[in-house]
Amino acid sequence: MTRELRVVGTSVPRDDAIDKVTGAARYTTDLALPGMLHAAILTSPHASARIVRVDLSDARSVPGVRAVLMGSDLDVRLGLYLRDKRILARDVVRYQGEPVAAVAADTLDAAREACRRICVEYDELPAVLDPRDAMAVGAPLVHPDLAGYDHMRGVFFPKPGTNVAHHQKIRKGDALASLAAADIRLEASFYNPPVQHVPMETHASIAQALPEGRVEIWTSSQSPYTVRHLLSVCLGLPHAAIRVHVPYVGGGFGGKAGLGLEPLATVLSRAAGGRPVLVSATREEEFNTMPSRPGLHSTIKIGSTRDGRITALEATYVWDAGAYADYGVNVGRAAAYSGAGPYAIDHCSIDSYVVYTNKVYGTAYRGFGHLEVLWGIERAMDQMARKLGLDPVEFRRRNLLKEGATTITGELFTAGHGKPVECLDAVAKAIDWGRPSDAPSAPHKVRGKGIAMLHKAPAMPTYTSCAAVIKLDEDGAADVLVSGVDYGQGTYTVLRQIAAEELGLPIGKVHITWDCDTALTPYDWQTVASRFSYMGGNAVIEAAADCLRQLTAVAAQALGVAPETIVCEDEAAFPADKPDRAISYKDLALGYAFPNGNAIGGPIIGHGRFIATGLTHLDPETGQGRPAQFWTYGAHAVEIEVDTETGEIEILHIATAVDAGKVLNPLSCTGQVIGGVVQGLGSTLHEGFQFDGKGRLLNPSFVDYKIPTAKDLPRRMTPIFLENPQPGGPYGARGVAEHPMISVPSAIGNALADALGIDYAVLPLSPERVLLGIQSREREKTP
């Protein structure tokens, strides 16, 4: 794109920031509907048990209680890809924390008191907690009825009679033979524990049941249309019967991508005679009841020539999906087709198993399996480099995808994909790779440097689409309507910038509607996968072009000239050679009136859409196909200092390069990188669910689940943006939302290996884990 851009590419601040800094912004729990009831949830204390008896009678007698429900009251089954879940557990509970009953009452206190008075008798069953145990023959089955569940056929393949919800295969070439024949082989295993998204706003939904089975919902969600669609399916209603509003959302990170508390709020409202019901998760429920990021056990084998050319890669990924499939099956699928890293590998075999366990269920999380997979892949790459006696940067340079290579699903890598090698070189330079660190700040400290690559494509259906509408106001300003959600990423500002650019409007005259409403704002698939700027941006460009066509047509007619002679600039339409005959947008926005009173035209409303193009399903046996609309590549380089006596790691400098194609808004792009890197630090250094032997979550609160604070920042963070354009992207842009988080743990793990000579395989790299690793290495050394 060679044209001079006026607004796109500048650091326009967010317009919603005003509402947010003044406290005027209303999130779901800030809304109050007349007669609104409050809900409380009773959850299971057991990881696996039969529900023998539920006694609600005492609960019903609490004053102010308007509805009490248990699982056997409801005949609804939910699931995005595999319908394996109930709104409230029925017959059995499958994880500690699973909702078993719920109450709606005039006050939250009454609802909670009523919950306390519900008596549930359980018969504990054997629980399976490790997905590897769950895959063993004879393991207790989390879903004995797997065969009977509806699922997205042709895409997901559950194995009835087992705990395997999905098995994704990649078979390119002959990895088995190639590994056997390789000069050098490496095998390593890794583990990521489940973690939680920790949005600052917990899940919350309000539902109001209306006549004829209709329902109106206000919810903290990333995907209003998905909420509508899934409810339509599971309640057996036409889509128009369900109306979903999304007010401001306080963070999502994937945890609010699918169905959350909307179904429960809906059935409670129905049971309460149509009174609106607010269900809002406490922070403990957010950790223990709402979904997590699936854990992952990975085993990776790499074969290489003596001079450092990777010939084969074999990986086995065993995902700990928890009690329900939710997004987990798709994470297992997507991570498989990305599962060898951004490298040119001729022979590749990947088996990705999504496995049920009796723990809180996994869902989408920023990175969609890629952080977890690349923890193993990028650590293994470093280990292989060391085995070969090669510099890890050089080893990667030799093997990164370049033009003409094919990915492991057989996709051809082109110039339009971006330049992973440039990303690698940029971060290596930023931390002065190759030059040893300065002396550490104390004798018991050691420094090290590490590097890791990252890549991701949006994991989405081959037919994913979205639409945008732009309507002009009486004053000639433009309103953009979309149903992707801006829950902090900044996409709405980017869409305003695009509309302003295309329409020739100043940014201050482009507005965007912050409330999504499935009755009013046009379809968007889901706000996940780093595809909203790309797809929404393209839809807005098309909608703007549609507006311009309409403006041009009316102006041409008004001026009596051919439409081809009209240009639209500076909020007006005029013949290119006669700017003095300009008609301003505001005189065209609702139609044009001639001096004598005759009117032509009408309200200017432009629409645009975008649908994924060229994507194919993956072959069930080989995984070959084209799953990716675009790939975004990047890298991190990090320098750390380790206290060898306490195990504490300090990040001295982390440099992050992303090939963004085009930075649409430097301020928000930088915000995504800094935010993503810090969230990545959380996964690296502090975060991880801990369960006891009976599958009970031990750290369901901020007391023992720690996320980074302002004191935990690296000394220095350097975001670096490359702009090798993406064909088909708006102004050449690619998505970058998830990417900054991916591979942060890998880079730090590699730096730790450099600093200490110890290969850590398990996250988080807490001071305890690091120190105990140092200790056991010391013990090994001592004869």
Binding site: M200, Q489, A710
Partner: protein, 168 residues
């Protein structure tokens, strides 16, 4: 006034001041930070009955006559707001800091703000906003229009170079 009513419940449910947010209910996340007699506290761990005779400042009082405060403008300018859920608490912690210490060092800013969790921004832009407000640098563009101008670019470059050099 029921004894068991917390300050945050009182503010949100009785006074309809919903700017103050609940993030955890146990004083760990800072989303509910308000000023009690000028001092930042967690409103979820204060009983409404305890504040009888005290002053309470919430985010709704930060702007005057519809004019954003220097702190609010700075938050808008530096990109310190993403999902916005932590923002009211952040602003109140910052306001408490600037009232007691108008010229805080970087370490003092971090100490004052470290009790407020954020999951979106990675904190840098927030710390930059507090530093900006403390330095009494006036953001030169009205946040809503966001016109790019030489002044503005220089201003933001200043902020960005702060981030590039790190916080220590």
């Amino acid at each position: 006034m029921p004894s068991g009513l917390t300050l945050i419940e009182f503010l949100r449910d009785r006074l309809y001041l919903t700017g103050t947010k609940e993030g955890c209910g146990i004083g760990e996340c800072g989303a509910c930070t308000v000023l009690l007699d000028e001092k930042p506290v967690m409103a979820c761990l204060v009983l409404a009955v305890e504040v009888d005779g005290c002053t309470v400042d919430t985010v709704e009082g930060e702007a005057t006559d519809g004019q954003l405060s220097d702190l609010q403008k700075a938050f808008v300018e530096t990109g310190a707001v993403q999902c916005g859920f932590c923002t009211p608490g952040m602003i109140m912690s910052a306001r408490g800091l600037l009232r007691r210490n108008p010229t805080p060092s970087d370490d003092e800013i971090i100490e004052a703000m470290a009790g407020n969790l954020c999951r979106c921004t990675g904190y840098e832009a927030i710390l930059a906003a507090v530093r900006l407000a403390a330095a009494a640098v006036q953001p030169v563009a009205e946040p809503l229009t966001g016109e790019t101008g030489t002044e503005r670019r220089r201003f933001l470059r200043g902020v960005e170079s702060t981030r590039k050099d790190g916080w220590r």
